[in-house]
């Protein structure tokens, strides 16, 4: 599976590896890995995970059922967000400031057995 390259502007960009698992890849062109290039600074503040999520919704998501990913402006319940393989709760959740090379994994909870 090849990864998409997405560019926004040029100067001082961050290269972020975004992954979807547990079925969420379905909402993103059935593609598990996406290499995302986003600016390091947005409105004079360091770029946060909150911005990345908005960006993914607007620019990467192909499925129209946005509510399967975002609910009331936040990642919907039942999706785990992992920043460099750690629960984002350990990293400040939405306010985490992205670093170049970060890996952000979105995993949908499974219920089957």
């Amino acid at each position: 599976m090849t990864a998409t390259e997405t560019h926004v502007g040029e100067s001082k960009g961050l290269s972020i590896k975004v992954e979807f698992s547990g079925g969420l890849e379905m909402l993103f062109s059935d593609q598990r890995e996406h290499n995302i290039k986003i600016p390091a600074v947005v409105e004079e503040k360091p770029t946060t995970v909150a911005f990345l999520i908005e960006y993914l919704c607007k620019n990467v998501m192909k499925d129209t059922r946005e509510e399967l990913f975002i609910l009331d402006g936040h990642v919907r319940p039942g999706i785990l967000v992992l920043i460099n393989d750690a629960d984002w709760e350990l990293e400040g959740e939405e306010s985490y400031e992205l670093q170049d090379g970060d890996n952000i994994l979105f995993v949908s909870t499974l219920h089957g057995g």
């Binding site: 079925g23 609910l71 393989d85 629960d87 994994l105 909870t109 499974l110 089957g112 057995g113």
Partner: protein, 302 residues
């Protein structure tokens, strides 16, 4: 006639010979397994392999809870059942299989769905619980019951080619104690919207994917029980290193990934500092799990 003076019987030394020589088990670990009781909730794709390896390892008492009967569409993944048992209660079918594997241990059948009213009486009888069910309502209920009754929980789930596994509420310290392990609600404080919940029946499942997760549940249970850490004075969640969840994706080159999870959530509804959940409130049905998890609006079902 010299009286038998060894801690295990001759048959047990022979049957468990290959695990007795492993440093992580040994005779003390085997004796702990023998004294232990494990409840497996769900005798399906996770529960079948999990119970098989628990029985093989010599867990003294294995309880199985399920309200389903065997169907032919189960058999590609539910390897403790068989074609001539189609229509039989899954719990009875599985126990028949497990008993033929290891007739030296005890089995208990819980035929019927676990509810708020029955969960306490069932779970309080066991040392450890495996959540092998297939719906969020039962997953929240089982976790809550494990919290108020002080039982560690080995959670796993699977769908299509994906699986997830985590040891929860271990050690099972009282509510509000930050040294206890996180519970299911610490990880998933709000349930997934019902329209995003897909069962194996709807979404499909590859047999070995759910099989791997079930076998790994048995391994985690055996490790906990053989270690002797359960009930050891002063044993803390942190002694085990960071809490981990194991993620599996069967069609990826590096299929397994261990991710680091936070500990207990102070504000957790079940295990948190101000939790009002008690054995009594749980048993009286004060939490409506069906409403909490929601139902798909009728229009979506059409």
């Amino acid at each position: 006639d010299t009286p038998w003076k060894w801690p295990l019987s001759a048959d047990e030394y022979e049957r468990y010979a290959r695990q007795l020589i492993i440093p992580q088990v040994g005779v003390p670990g085997q004796l702990r397994l023998k004294k232990a009781s494990v409840l497996v909730v769900g005798a399906g794709g996770l529960g079948c392999p999990a119970a098989a390896y628990l029985a093989g390892a010599g867990v003294g008492t294995i309880g199985l809870a399920d309200d389903d009967v065997v169907e032919v569409s189960n058999l590609h993944r539910q390897i403790a059942h068989s074609t001539d048992k189609v229509g039989m209660h899954k719990v009875d079918s599985a126990i028949q299989f497990l008993r033929s594997l290891n007739p030296t241990i005890a089995f208990r059948a819980h035929r019927g769905r676990i509810t708020s009213e029955t969960a306490g009486a069932i779970i309080s009888d066991y040392d450890l619980v495996l959540d092998c069910t297939d719906h969020p309502t039962s997953r929240y209920l089982i976790s809550d019951a494990c919290v108020v009754h002080g039982k560690p929980l080995v959670f796993a789930s699977a769908l299509q080619t994906h699986g997830q596994l985590m040891v929860m509420n271990y050690p099972p310290l009282p509510q509000g104690d930050p040294h206890g392990g996180p519970c299911y609600r610490c990880i998933f404080p709000k349930p997934s919207p019902p329209e995003t919940v897909t069962s194996c029946g709807e979404g499909g499942i590859l047999g070995p994917v759910v099989g791997v997760m079930g076998v790994l549940q048995a391994l985690e249970a055996i490790k906990i029980l053989a270690s002797g850490n359960l009930g050891r004075e002063g044993f803390k969640r942190e002694d085990l290193g960071p809490a981990q969840m194991l993620l599996f994706s069967g069609h990826v080159a590096a299929p397994f990934r261990s991710v680091r999870m936070a500990g207990r959530r102070k504000a957790c509804f079940a295990c948190g500092e101000a939790s009002g959940l008690t054995r009594e409130s749980l048993g009286s049905g004060s939490v409506d799990y069906i409403q909490f998890c929601g139902v798909v609006p009728a229009v979506e079902i059409l």
